[in-house]
Amino acid sequence: MYLPEDELQRIDEEERLLKGQYKHHIHVCLGANCLNAHSAQVLSALETEAKARGLEKVCSVTGGGCRGLCVAGPTVTLEPDNVLYGKVQPNDAGDIIASLGGEPVERLNRPTDNPFFMRQQRIVREMEGRLNPERIEDYIAAGGYKSLLKALNEMTPAEVINEITRSGLRGRGGAGYPTGLKWKTVAKARGEHKYVICNGDEGDPGAFMDRSVMDDFPHRLLEGIIIGAYAVGADRGYLYVRAEYPLSVKRLQLAIRQAQKQNLLGNNIAGTAFNFDLQVRVGAGAYVCGEETALIASIEGKRGQPRPRPPYPAESGLWGYPTLINNVETFANIGAIIRNGSAWYASIGTEKSKGTKVFALTGTVSHSGLIEVPMGTTLREIIFDIGGGIPDGRKFKAAQTGGPGGGCIPEQYLDLSVDFESLASVGSMMGSGGLVIMDDRTCMVNVAKYFLEFCKSESCGKCIPCRVGTAHMFDILDKITKGEATLDDLTLLEELCDTVKHTSLCGLGQSAPNPVLSTLRFFRDEYIAHIVDHVCPAGVCEFEKEAVR
C-alpha cells in the first residue's frame, strides 16, 4: 500500500545522502532582486569554476532564496561554514571556490553576527537562503509537508481550526482578523463547493514580503493553503498573484505541479478522501483587487470592484460559494503552527499579536531589505539596531507603515511596540508590512499628497466619496505644496477626511484619509508653514508665488 509518509521519508533520506556527499554547499540567491543583479550568471560561473578545479563532487552549487539583505545582492551563502557573501560578481567565482575550507574571501564577506541577522526570528522565512525554491525535495528534506500529513492523518478539521485559534494567529493582510475565527466561519457555512483563495496581490508600494514568500518558499505557502482547505472543507482554490510578479507565478505553478506529482494536491490527497484542486490566477494591475471582494470579482473575470459586506466571503464568496480568503504570509505560518503546536506560537509576540511579522524595510535606512521580527519589537530596534540607522548623518523623521492607507509615526513614538493595536493607537496600521523610513529631507505634506495621488488613481470609481473625495483632497494638498492654499482649505481638507473615511464603500476609501490625518496630527506645523509662510521646511516643495501678507 502507498504510504505518503514513507514516500516523504524516502525523499528525505535520498536528499540527505545526496547532500552528505558534498563537503561544501554553495547557495546562490535566485530571488527576484538578486536575479536582477545577475545572480544566475554568478551561479553558472561558480559551477564552471568548481568543475574546472575538479571539485564538483566536493561542493554543490545550487540556487537558494533571499537572505533579506537586498542591498548586498547578489548574495551567496556557504554551508556548513555559514558564510555570507555580498555583491558577488561572476569573476569572483574563482576566489570563492579557492577559499572553501579556509578563510572566507575578505572583500565579499558580510558578517552575520550583527543585529541585522541576530535580532530576527524566522518562522515564515525559516531556512532563508538555503532552500532551492524550484525543488520540492529541498522543502521535504527540511521537514516540509509533515504538517500537512499530520493534519490529514492525526487531526480532524475541527482540531486543526482549534489549533490555529489557540495559536492566536491573526491575518497578515492588514486588518489582523483572527485566522481561526475566519476558518471556523467558513467551516460552518454550507455550500456544494467551498473555495480557498490566497491573496497574493501585494499592492502596497514598498512592500515585497509576500513576493519573497512566493518566490523563495512556494511549497511552504502551498502546505498552508492545503491545510486551510482541509480545515474548512474546501475542494477548490485559487492563488491570486499580481501580474507584476512573473517569477512568483512561474515558481508557484511549478510547485503546484510538483505537489500534484507527490499526490499532495489533487484527488485523494496523500491517500485520504480529501480532494483539493489549486490554480494560479494572475492579476492585471489594479491596487483595489487586493480588497477581498474586488479580488473575487477579478477571479470571476469581472472589473475588480468591491461590493458591500455583509455578506462576507466566508458565507458568500466566489460564485456565491463560501470562501476562505487569507493573505500569503498568513498561510505561510500555518505549517509551523501545526508542527510546533499552538502553545509554541502563542509564546511569541505580544498579548494580542502573536508570532512574527515580516517587514520590507526601505527608505532612508542603512540596511534596506526583508526582515522578520517577533511582534512587539520596537520601531527603534527595527530601524536603528536591525536597520543600522539613518545613513548620511541625517536625522530620523518618520516611519510610514500600513501602505497608502497607513500613517506616519514620528520620533516620539520610536519606542512603540510594533503590533496591531499599538500601531492603530497612533493613527497608523500594521498593513501588510511595508515600513518606509523617512529622514529630515522629507516633506510630510508632500508625502500625504503622494498617497492621495495613489488612492485617487487607484479608486475603482464605484462609490462617490472615494472617487470624488480623494480627487478633491489631492487638489487641496497640491495647492498647499504650491503655496496656493488658505487656512480655509485646510479646514475643508479635514472635513473631507472625515466624510471620505466614514462613507466610503471599501477599505481603500475608508483608509485613504489616514496619511493626511496622521501627518496633520504630528506635523501640523509643516502644513501651516506651507500655507501661511509659503515655505517648505524640508526644502522639497517649490513655490511659484511669493507670500502675500
Binding site: C70, G203, G206, Y287, G301, T362, Q400
Partner: protein
C-alpha cells in the same frame, strides 16, 4: 468580425489565444486570462481582438471593453520598441522619482503612459518595482538604473529617441 484577415489567417498567435479559452472551457470567467494571452501575443489589445474575444466567450463587447480598460496592465495601443518604466513607489518618490520622470518626459517629449509618435519609446510609471534600496529606480527595457539622476536618464532616453534632442 470573423472575416478579419488576422483572425481567419489562423495566425499562430490566435491559436494560442484560442488555446487559453479552450483551457477554461470558453467560460466567461476566462476573460482576464484570455486578455493576458492576447497582450502577450500582440503586445496590446485592439478593437479586433476585443471583438473576437467577446464573440468567442459570448460576453457583451461593452463588458470586455470595461474589463480591458479597468486594469492598468492592459495596453490599448501599440507599444514602443523600447520601454522605460519610472518607479514612483514610496521609496523612489521620497528620493526624487518624480524629478526623474519629469526629466524623461522632457527629453523624449512624451507623457507618462504614452508612446512617442515614431513608436521608439513607451514611457510607463510603476508603483514600486521592488528594488527600493536602489531608489530612485528607472528600468530601461530590462536594465535597472539605480539611484537614477535626471541627467543620466535624460541622456539614456536621448539615445533611443535621438530625433527630439535637437
Amino acid at each position: 468580425m470573423q472575416t478579419s484577415t488576422l483572425v481567419s489567417a489562423e495566425d499562430k498567435r490566435w491559436r494560442l489565444i484560442r488555446a487559453t479559452m479552450r483551457r477554461h472551457g470558453f467560460a466567461a470567467n476566462a476573460l482576464i486570462e484570455t486578455l493576458h494571452t492576447v497582450q502577450e501575443a500582440f503586445g496590446y489589445l485592439d478593437e479586433e481582438a476585443l471583438r473576437y474575444v467577446a464573440k468567442e466567450l459570448r460576453i457583451p463587447l461593452s463588458r470586455v471593453y470595461g474589463v480591458a480598460t479597468f486594469y492598468n496592465h492592459f495596453a490599448m495601443k501599440p507599444q514602443g520598441e523600447h520601454h522605460c518604466v519610472v518607479c514612483l513607489g514610496t521609496a523612489c518618490y521620497i528620493r526624487g522619482g518624480s524629478r526623474v520622470l519629469e526629466a524623461i518626459e522632457k527629453a523624449a517629449q512624451v507623457k507618462a503612459g504614452e508612446t512617442t509618435p515614431d513608436k521608439k519609446l513607451s514611457l510607463l510609471v510603476a508603483r514600486c518595482v521592488g528594488l527600493c534600496w536602489l531608489a530612485p529606480v528607472a528600468l530601461f527595457d530590462d536594465e535597472v538604473a539605480s539611484e537614477a539622476t535626471p541627467e543620466e536618464v535624460a541622456q539614456k532616453v536621448g539615445e533611443w529617441v535621438d530625433h527630439v534632442s535637437s
